[in-house]
Symmetry: C2
Subunit: 408 residues, 2 copies
């Protein structure tokens, strides 16, 4: 008998019929002898409906009251799912965030979980009941309702799993797992049976939006095995877990990419301490997030400096960079939005030489020029012209033998 | 400076615009130097929407989960009203039943309030905030969400007023006060400035459905002056309070009536101890509520026995009565649904002789035959043929000088 936390998102509980389908899945898991805690989101559309009501009254609604308002969305779902479980003869008990006592800080709208009281939930589990918990919400130390921000139900599920020392946290979503790359770009993309937390973090931050990145961090930190699977299809999904011996075989888990970046370069700045800060300080000061940062070794006592930002921030960043260039007496400033970032991700690359050269070779064979390179322990990213996105992804997918059967 | 509890029902908060109008009323009360606690219902239609969702899943939804579901209705309203108050620059803080801690028993769907923790609410009032409380809901001692049953927001308001020792509990509704009788029957019906709790109870139980009878009992028990007034029109409404010296002048406060009754008679039963129980026992056993009960003094060692029940229970009651008649060897059983009950209500009748004779004279003048008479300390009820309803109400209204100006 295992203790399993299952999380169903808004689309999975988007109608009475879907809630009934979820109830069947949950009851089946319990019938298989497991203890089950279910975390649910608001029915799809409900949160937007509530936000619209508030915005009809005020452009900037009071944050505390917004949390009171929005938390009703999940409360409706926990009640309806519990009613559906009872209807199936499956004993169930619903909990709001405050009833569990999911204690958070008091940052309304994006609160962080501080502690979870497992007492009542464990009591109901021991009594053979399915426990249905409202995702996305908690209470602060004074009993004020807080929300974790949109998508926070994943975080609730992982936190519940951690607090209860669950054997597995299953995130049901509208995809059936994590793929080697986006199947819309490479139809032969293969579903991964397993992936490590670190790889998943790199995949998520690079654009594979299957899971909230925060919940993956959380799961890794608290040693909660995480499984992504489909609400609508049968299947084992993808298990996100710790590095194991046999994972060494797979050097590369997947190819991630991002179309959202723009590249800026400042050329001929003095090669001396403090110059990186002079360049990036004003950018950070304008709340622009910088992704890749590359500085080549200099010559003639000057150096070149390249970084990437979100495309939406490109023009603002370019302006700031021109100002810095004047102060620093730089030779030139230029940039482009017509780039994409391709990334190889895999824990295997730690212990395998030659990954990078295989990557560069594969791109060169297709005539793809690499503009910037950046590496981390389990990731190699390159910036290329955006026209090479599909070609590059497929070339790398092939080069590292990731392809499965052609998806129908 | 007074402490005022205001309650707004579902129609009064039925749209964003109406919630904004309520916010203005509340803010104005605070601007006049009062401390204000507002109790609100769910937006009209919302409770029915939620019930429909649950019934789509189960014909008999789990009662605990129904309370979790339905309590979201008021929670949405408290958040929206608080947002509207903030928008007007009026500091406000919302409370669910559980957050106030309105402690109830655990009878889901019709819980009774056991205790109210006034600590947090008093703190916010002292800080100059308007406190917005979700009506109709509480928590049991284990923190399970309970509801007081439909219309229970009135009870919440009165209970809050009692706990906080408020100077007045104002119930805002879609009528502008309590009238001497139903203005649809007697256009010259007059709004009462004051009425006693006892009179209000008799009026309410006889069909003047302005207030939940339970909240009136509650207000009387805890000495909370209650005021009924309109959400949509200006005016002082009707104050429901304790008997005062000058109330003696008004012998009669109003004429109530009920169209919902049916009358049954059993004739020629043995005039001996236990016979009333033999007749009414089976009726009560079938969960049929009996309203008026009249037994005339007998002759020839037999007596006649008449009682009234709700029209919906008439056929069942008649069957039971026929069975009793056989057992008791009664001479005859008969009844009719074509009756109405007219009632004079007024604390003044305690100390004034002649009220009954004035009543009977007024009805006789119009040729209205009285079928049954029943009296209590502050009420005289008669049963007449239903065709005399309007004629009888107007005759009594005139006879006791209740008429005001003709309502436009």
């Amino acid at each position: 008998m295992a203790l399993i936390v299952q999380k169903y998102g808004g689309t999975s509980v988007g109608s009475v019929e879907r809630i009934q389908a979820v109830a069947k899945k949950v009851a089946a898991t319990r019938d298989n002898g497991h203890k089950v805690v279910v975390v649910v989101s608001a029915m799809s559309g409900e949160t937007n409906r509530l936000i619209a009501l508030a915005n009809d009254i005020s452009e900037f609604p009071n944050p505390r009251e917004m949390d009171v308002l929005l938390s009703t969305g999940e409360q409706v779902t926990i009640a309806l799912l519990s009613i559906a479980l009872h209807k199936l003869g499956c004993p169930a008990c619903s909990y709001t965030g405050g009833q569990v006592r999911i204690l958070t800080d008091n940052v309304h709208g994006k609160a962080r979980i501080l502690d979870i009281d497992d007492h009542s939930v464990n009591g109901d589990l021991a009594a053979g009941k399915v426990v249905v918990v409202a995702g996305f919400q908690g209470v602060d130390e004074h009993g004020n309702i807080t929300t974790l921000g949109r998508g926070g139900s994943d975080t609730t599920a992982v936190a519940m799993a951690a607090a209860l020392k669950a054997n597995e946290c299953q995130i049901f979503t509208d995809v059936d797992g994590v793929y080697t790359t986006d199947p819309r770009v490479e139809p032969r993309a293969r579903k991964l049976d397993k992936i490590t937390f670190e790889e998943m973090l790199e995949m998520a931050s690079l654009g594979s939006k299957v899971l909230q990145i925060r919940s993956v961090e959380f799961a890794g930190k608290y040693n909660v095995p995480l499984r992504v699977l489909s609400s609508f299809e049968e299947g084992e999904g993808t298990l996100i877990t710790f590095e194991e011996e046999n994972m060494e075989d797979a050097k590369i888990s997947g190819i991630a990419f991002s179309r959202d970046e723009a590249k800026l370069t400042i050329r001929g700045v003095p090669d001396q301490p403090g110059v990186a800060f002079s360049i990036l300080g004003p950018v950070a000061g304008a709340n622009i997030e910088v992704d890749m940062i590359v500085q080549n070794i200099g010559k003639d006592e000057t150096t070149d400096f390249t970084f990437t930002v979100h495309r939406n921030d490109y023009h603002k960043a370019l302006e700031l960079l021109k100002e810095s260039a004047e102060v620093l007496g730089a030779r030139e400033v230029f940039g482009t939005k017509n780039i994409v970032k391709l990334s190889l991700v895999g824990v295997g690359m730690r212990s395998h030489a030659g990954i990078a050269s295989t990557m560069f070779e594969a791109l060169a064979k297709e005539g793809i020029n690499i503009q910037v390179i950046s590496t981390s322990e389990i990731k190699i990213s390159v910036v290329v012209d955006e026209k090479y996105l599909e070609l590059g992804v497929r070339a790398l997918h092939d080069a590292f033998g990731l392809a499965g059967e052609l998806n129908s």
